[in-house]
């Protein structure tokens, strides 16, 4: 080495310095290599997992929900494609301008859009924001047409529920987003934003209808854009469900209940299959799978007649005179009366120092059991009730299934109430007054039943003591394998009734409709052979019943009709309840007749007319009317939803 002008000693020292630097540099490279060894070899698996997490996303593939059919294969609930507008913030140049575009394009409420965008503030900007669900085809077209100018908008396709008919909304139920509580209850099944069955069949058979969601594992880039699919697990579609419902009957009842409040249940007495279940007022279940506005929701919730409630199983009322047929069976079976026992009806009777009126002021005169049922003589049944006493009456009521849920395959069924001395002491904390027994004997007082309980009780009666469990499920089909399973229930209740007694009561019920003097004689139909019993429940004490027609809606009597047809080998039992319908004969029996005739294929020359909008305007009950009225204010709140019968 030649370093001009420097001594050899200095040269050596310079060389040593370079050697130190050499060793330091070599050491630095070795240290760097060690650091990479640590990162890539020691921690390699950890980072490999992270890189896999980076590139792979799991996307749920929603399983197609099972279709719901009526017993003849008419679709009641189907699926249709639905479109959702997504905003990709990463593509947005100006977020405020994008919000403006969305607001003006779809006419959405600005606060709503801003709230949705704000909710995603803490998310990565490649996470799309759902701005609006259930776009119309026109809206989709409008958005697609602007694709070039507004690349931040994209339309996603999903599925939504379509209730083709919309009848029996409370029995079928609807789909809506799983609530936080529902997700918390089954976190491995439901995720936020998933639509699940709420109420009715949709809720009761949620697991069967929903199927199992599939999963796609996709490879994404750092913007979250899908670049390829790595694997997929196909969804298992939900099972199609066939209900026992007969849509023809549903439509007959739905039409009848227009502008009326109440419920109707029709059942096959032999099997317990529910043929019709209608509750009015009703609502459009499609509202829940679309963009429901605050007003629409308020209209549903604020309606004093509670359209969401299934009145056939969730509202309880006194059965009124419809109860007489069940009391008659026990009266005969217990020997309190014979078919020939006669009672004189002067239009009233006095028990325990108090006068009890018969609904027929001038009185029925001397009546036997058949005549008492045909003309609905109250004095006859006051007398029978007094002979039996409250405990025997309660026993009879329980034997026919009152006071407990029927076991229908829908959630939240009410039990009703069978009063007794024990009940009075325990619940009411008061003595049972003997005069109350007289009221209960004609189905008034604290005795409370649902429409379904009456239908089931009547089915047990016409079956001679066999009580099949009411149900809506007929069969389920696996859309992929074609496999099918049918309803089966081995737990049928039985009670012993003498066939002769059944025949006597059935004969009397035939007379109610088909003989002059029968309370439902006006609803007779040649060839139908309808048998039944009318009933009415007083809402408020009336001093003078003549004024009834001019009473305000909410003070009018409730109307019942229970019936079956044909007389020999009954195919259908029916319970119709019309709130504030005044007379069972005029308000409830005509629908029972039309339901039975429709089911049995008997022509109806003059079908019952839908209700007139009364002064107290109950909520609309048809789908068309519900849609039209969704924007109208709810009826006045002072109309009482449920009324107690006079004691």
């Amino acid at each position: 080495m030649r370093l001009r002008g420097s001594s050899s000693e200095e040269r050596e020292s310079f060389q040593r310095m370079i050697e130190v630097a050499f060793i330091a540099a070599a050491f630095a490279f070795a240290a760097m290599a060690t650091a990479y060894w640590y990162t890539q070899i020691v921690r390699g698996d950890y980072y490999f997992k992270l890189s896999e997490n980076n590139r792979l996303r799991s996307v749920a593939v929603t399983a197609a929900r099972g279709v719901i059919y009526d017993r003849h294969g008419v679709p009641l609930a189907e699926n249709e494609p639905s479109y959702t507008l997504y905003l990709y913030r990463r593509e947005t140049k100006n977020l405020a301008a994008s919000i403006d575009t969305a607001v003006s394009l779809l006419g959405l409420p600005r606060e709503d859009v801003e709230r949705r965008v704000a909710r995603y503030r803490t998310y990565f900007d490649f996470v799309p924001i759902a701005l609006a669900e259930n776009l119309t085809i026109g809206e989709v077209a409008a958005i697609e047409a602007r694709g070039a100018e507004d690349p931040e908008f994209a339309v996603g396709v999903g599925q939504r529920r379509l209730y083709t008919k919309g009848t029996g909304a409370q029995a079928i139920g609807y789909l809506s987003e799983a609530s936080p509580n529902q997700i918390a209850a089954q976190p491995d099944r439901y995720r936020p934003g998933v639509a699940i069955g709420q109420r009715g069949i949709e809720s009761a058979y949620q697991d069967l209808l929903a199927g199992r969601d599939g999963e796609r594992r996709i490879i994404v880039d750092s913007f979250g854009h899908e670049t390829a699919e790595e694997s997929r697990e196909d969804p298992v579609p939900g099972r199609n469900l066939t209900l026992t419902i007969d849509e023809r009957l549903q439509e007959v009842a739905e039409r009848y209940f227009q502008n009326r409040v109440g419920s109707a249940v029709a059942m096959d007495p032999k099997t317990g299959q529910i043929l019709a279940m209608i509750s009015a007022p009703s609502y459009d279940p499609n509202l829940f799978s679309r963009r429901m506005t605050g007003t629409q929701w308020a209209t549903l919730v604020d309606n004093p007649f509670r359209p969401l409630q299934n009145r056939a199983i969730q509202n309880v009322y006194s059965p009124g005179s419809a109860f007489k047929v069940f009391l008659a069976v026990e009266g005969l079976a217990g020997g309190y009366i014979t078919p020939d026992t006669k009672v004189f009806c002067p239009g009233y009777a006095t028990f325990y120092g108090r006068a009890f009126k018969c609904h027929k002021k001038e009185g029925h005169g001397w009546v036997n059991l058949r005549e008492a049922i045909r003309g609905s003589c109250d004095v006859y049944f006051y007398t029978l009730g007094k002979r039996m006493g409250i405990e025997k009456i309660a026993e009879a009521a329980r034997a026919f299934g009152f006071g407990k849920p029927t076991g229908l395959d829908l959630p939240n069924e009410k039990a009703g109430l069978v009063p007794s001395e024990e009940w009075s002491e325990k619940v009411r904390k008061a003595h049972w007054y003997p005069s109350e027994t007289i009221s209960v004997a004609i189905g008034q007082g604290p005795l409370l039943v649902t429409s379904l309980q009456l239908a089931r009780g009547l089915a047990g009666l016409v079956n001679g003591g066999r009580f099949p469990r009411p149900h809506l499920f007929l069969s389920a089909q696996d859309a992929q394998t074609g496999g099918r399973f049918e309803y089966f229930d081995g737990t049928e209740e039985r009670m012993k009734i003498d066939p002769a007694i059944v025949g006597q009561v059935e004969d009397a019920m035939w007379a109610v409709v088909n003989e002059p003097g029968g309370t439902a004689y006006l609803s007779r139909l040649p060839g139908l052979d309808l048998c039944g019993k009318t009933g009415s429940v007083q809402v408020v004490a009336q001093k003078d019943t003549k004024k009834e027609g001019s009473l305000p809606f909410e003070k009018r009597d409730h109307a019942w009709f229970i019936g079956f047809a044909p007389r020999r080998d009954p195919k259908i039992v029916i319970a119709v309840f019309v709130e504030h319908g005044q007379h069972g004969a005029s308000a409830a029996a005509p629908l029972a007749r039309d339901l039975a005739a429709t089911y049995l294929g008997v022509p109806i020359p003059h079908p019952a007319e839908p209700g007139e909008p009364p002064a107290g305007a109950p909520a609309p009950t048809t789908i068309a009317a519900a849609r039209a009225a969704a924007s109208l204010p709810a009826p006045a709140r002072n109309a009482a939803p449920i009324t107690e019968a006079r004691r």
Partner: protein, 363 residues
């Protein structure tokens, strides 16, 4: 020039290591610009490599002693664009460090670095004292800190830092007195404390991120995190050329420039890392060895300065990939995409080879 090769005066070890690195660099740029709007960058990089090799041969052909004589005008000329940038430059990604001409952009800081190395060598060629005189020390600081400050004000902290090794070379090999070292260390501590107040927000953020990498996963911490994932997931043999998921799916930021080493680590694994680190070690250690051959102090200091700059950049960049150092945005010499970096690095290599080629007095 034929003579230079024939008489084995050109150091082939260094040259081959450099050429190997260039080849690997081109492969990695091609992989990391696959299928994007940067697809044409591979061709550009090849062109810049050609320019760089021409520069290298040019430097080899010219006697470095001539360059040393003109080192001050060269130095002054190289500072001019830096001043121009500060006054009038366009900002690209926050900073004014690029000069545009035609369709090309150029980073004058890279040129200034080579010019500063030349001036440093010239200083020590004429500074023969056993200990570094205060006057010489003053000159050393001035010549390094002026361009360093100009770059820092752009503001490009990373590039500014790459001038520091020149200072260290001067202080260490020029034999600065111990008490100055102590004084400097104390001054540095004070400067750091005061400097923190003057750092731009994004620069502060990078340093905070370095200390607490998990504080901000989506922002500044994102880059380090993603590059660590890329490196670590490469394992022993890597995911295969063009198969790095972190790189190809764009999780890795600026992967064809600053983060190209992470692409290598992901696609070729630890083995690939070892090969490339060995090549860099060959260049650096060979450079140090060649410094001992230099015929004069100027040549020795020129080689030491340039080698130190290279070493410093390699360490900072590779360490940055795995979070050993904060993200400062300096390219990896010879591998990263970037014309200025490749061309000036190759010019530096040319200068080192030139010193080696003229190690004999009669050359």
């Amino acid at each position: 020039m034929r003579g230079l090769f024939q008489r084995r005066r050109v150091d082939t070890t260094l040259l081959l290591a450099v050429l190997a690195l260039l080849g690997i660099g081109l492969l990695l740029v091609a992989s990391s610009t696959l299928g994007g709007r940067n697809a044409e960058l591979t061709g550009r990089q090849a062109m810049w490599m050609g320019v760089g090799i021409a520069l290298m041969l040019g430097m080899l052909a010219v006697d470095y002693r001539v360059l040393l004589k003109f080192s001050f005008p060269i130095y002054a000329a190289s500072l001019a664009p830096l001043v121009y940038l500060l006054a009038l430059g366009h900002r690209i990604a926050h900073v004014r460090s690029w000069v545009r001409f035609g369709g090309y952009q150029f980073q004058p800081a890279e040129v200034a670095k080579v010019a500063t190395a030349l001036l440093l060598a010239y200083l020590f060629e004429n500074e023969q004292d056993r200990r570094l005189r205060p006057a010489a020390l003053g000159k050393l600081f001035a010549m390094v800190l002026v361009p360093c400050l100009l770059v820092f004000l752009q503001p490009d902290l990373g590039l500014a830092l790459t001038f520091v090794p020149l200072l260290l070379v001067g202080m260490y090999f020029g034999r600065m007195r111990r008490r100055y070292w102590a004084l400097l260390a104390a001054a540095l501590v004070v400067c750091c404390a005061v400097g923190w107040l003057f750092l731009k927000d994004y620069q502060k953020q990078r340093i905070t991120t370095f200390v607490h990498p998990d504080v901000d996963v989506s922002g500044a911490g994102y880059q380090v995190r993603q590059s660590k994932i890329a490196v670590g997931s490469g394992g022993l043999v890597g995911k295969g050329y063009r198969r790095g998921t972190q790189s190809q799916l764009r999780f890795l930021p600026v992967r064809h420039t600053d983060f190209i080493f992470a692409v290598l680590a992901e696609e070729f694994g630890f083995l690939g890392v070892l090969v490339v680190l060995s090549l860099y070690a060959t260049v650096v250690l060979r450079g140090l060895r060649l410094a001992t051959h230099a015929r004069d102090r100027g040549g020795a200091f020129l080689v030491l300065g340039l080698t130190a700059c290279l070493f410093f950049s390699v360490m900072l960049n590779t360490g940055m990939m795995i979070g050993l150092f904060p993200t400062t945005g300096i390219p990896l010499p010879l591998l990263s995409y970037g014309g200025s970096s490749v061309a000036t690095t190759l010019a530096s290599i040319g200068l080192i080879l030139s010193v080696e080629a003229r190690r004999f007095a009669n050359a």
